[in-house]
Each structure stands twice: as structure tokens, then as C-alpha cells.
Amino acid sequence: MKSIRKELIINAPVAKVWAHLIDPARIAGWLMPNTFDPRPGKAFRMDCGTEGTIEGVVREIVPLKKLVYSWTSKHLKIETLVTVTLKPEKGKTRLILVHSGWEALPPSEEGLGAPFDQGWNACLKRLGEQVSLEGTP
């Protein structure tokens, strides 16, 4: 399963870190301007500059413990999933973020809903390498 995993210790109690995860004003400080609404089923947008607008839906909330939301954009096209979990650790907070769902990515972003194909991606990758190797120095 393809996913991105990030883990860090934050020197602040869980309640404080949780506030930064769900309050739109605080989210804007570390992530981006947004219309986040921390309730299951609620849709939101994040203004991502070069990546355009991120659209998501809150899937699951367990206060102070877990936050799950979908993450997609016009460029990304597929729906990926972001899962954040918090664990208290001696007055600090261990935060784990998993960004998953990458298997659903089609070979070409603008592909017409083509199913994900390992062979195709490998081909494109080789061609991409070839492009950079053939260039004049």
C-alpha cells in the first residue's frame, strides 16, 4: 500500500495540538487558508496557491485523538486520504500523519479514467529519464 507517513513530537499537550488541527484560523497559520469545519461529513476547501484549491470532506473525528479527511484537487484528480492521530507522551504530543490512497492515481493526470497501471508508469519513468539524459550538456 502506498502512503506517506510523517511522525513528530510536539512539545505541547494534546489539547493544544488538537486545537491547531481543527480551528480554521489556526490551520491557516501552519497549512493554508481554509474553510475547515471539524464535523463528520462536512466539506471544506484549502487555498493551496500553486496547487490550486484542495477539496476535502471530514470522514472521521475522535476528539483529541484522530482526524481523517479526504484530500483531492483539480490537478490531483483522485481522492486521497489524510489521517492524523495524536498520542499523549509525558506532557508532549506524538503526531502521526498518514497520507494514503495513491494507488488510485491514473498513469496520466488527464487520462480518461484509465486504471492505474504499474507497467505504464515504469515506461513513462524510463522515457522521462531518457529525456533528461539526451539533453545537451
Binding site: K6, I10, A12, K16, E103, G135
Partner: protein, 116 residues
């Protein structure tokens, strides 16, 4: 590079098949390599090649029709540039988001720790 909203017409389709065929030609790969470094008008692209103008125009047309090349007009000149989006693999998307989350979670940490 700044992303323009694409000129989406019925003829432009970055389907895997089209992208693959576009990349299969060495002249077109060379054009993409040149355009990956800088935006250029047609005349300048031609100066780097032993290609006739009609042949170059045909290659550019093929590349544009699958979104590998985008253009912008500046006065009387039309600048061509590489659009690498059709080439982006899963690995590249994930690498991008590895950096993205590393960066933003760092900010979250700083923000949460700084708040009184």
C-alpha cells in the same frame, strides 16, 4: 513555474496513448528537453535544431495536442514551454507531498509550541 489554466479544447487530450506516442520520437524528446530549461518562441527552438520549420511545427503541434507543451502569447511572440504534468508519476506526486507535509507539519509544531 506558474500554472495557467489549460486551454482545454476537444483536440487536446493527454491520454496515456497520446503522451507515449509523443515521447516516442527523439526530435520531440529533444524539443521537450530544450523547453524544460526555458520558454522559447518557435524561431529560437528552430535555431537549436537541424529541423525544417514545417517539421518543427508538426512536432510542436503533436506535443501541444497532448499537453506536453503549453504556450503563452507575449506581444507578437508565442512562447512555448514544457508542461510536465502529463509525465508526473505516482512517485513524483508522493515525493511532492512528502516535502509538503514535512514543511507544514514543521510549521504546526512551531505554531503549537509557541502559542501561550
Amino acid at each position: 513555474m506558474a500554472s495557467m489554466s489549460g486551454q482545454v479544447t476537444r483536440r487536446i487530450s493527454a491520454s496515456p496513448d497520446r503522451v507515449f506516442k509523443a515521447l516516442a520520437d527523439p526530435s520531440r524528446r529533444r524539443i521537450l528537453d530544450i523547453l524544460s530549461r526555458e520558454e522559447l518562441p518557435l524561431k529560437r527552438i528552430q535555431q537549436r535544431f537541424q529541423l525544417s520549420r514545417p517539421a518543427l511545427i508538426k512536432h510542436i503541434w503533436i506535443l501541444k495536442s497532448c499537453s506536453l507543451v503549453r504556450v503563452r502569447r507575449a506581444g507578437r511572440l508565442i512562447y512555448h514551454r514544457l508542461n510536465s504534468r502529463p509525465l508526473r508519476t505516482v512517485e513524483q506526486w508522493m515525493a511532492k507531498y512528502e516535502v509538503f507535509w514535512g514543511d507544514h507539519l514543521g510549521r504546526l509544531k512551531h505554531q503549537a509550541e509557541s502559542e501561550k
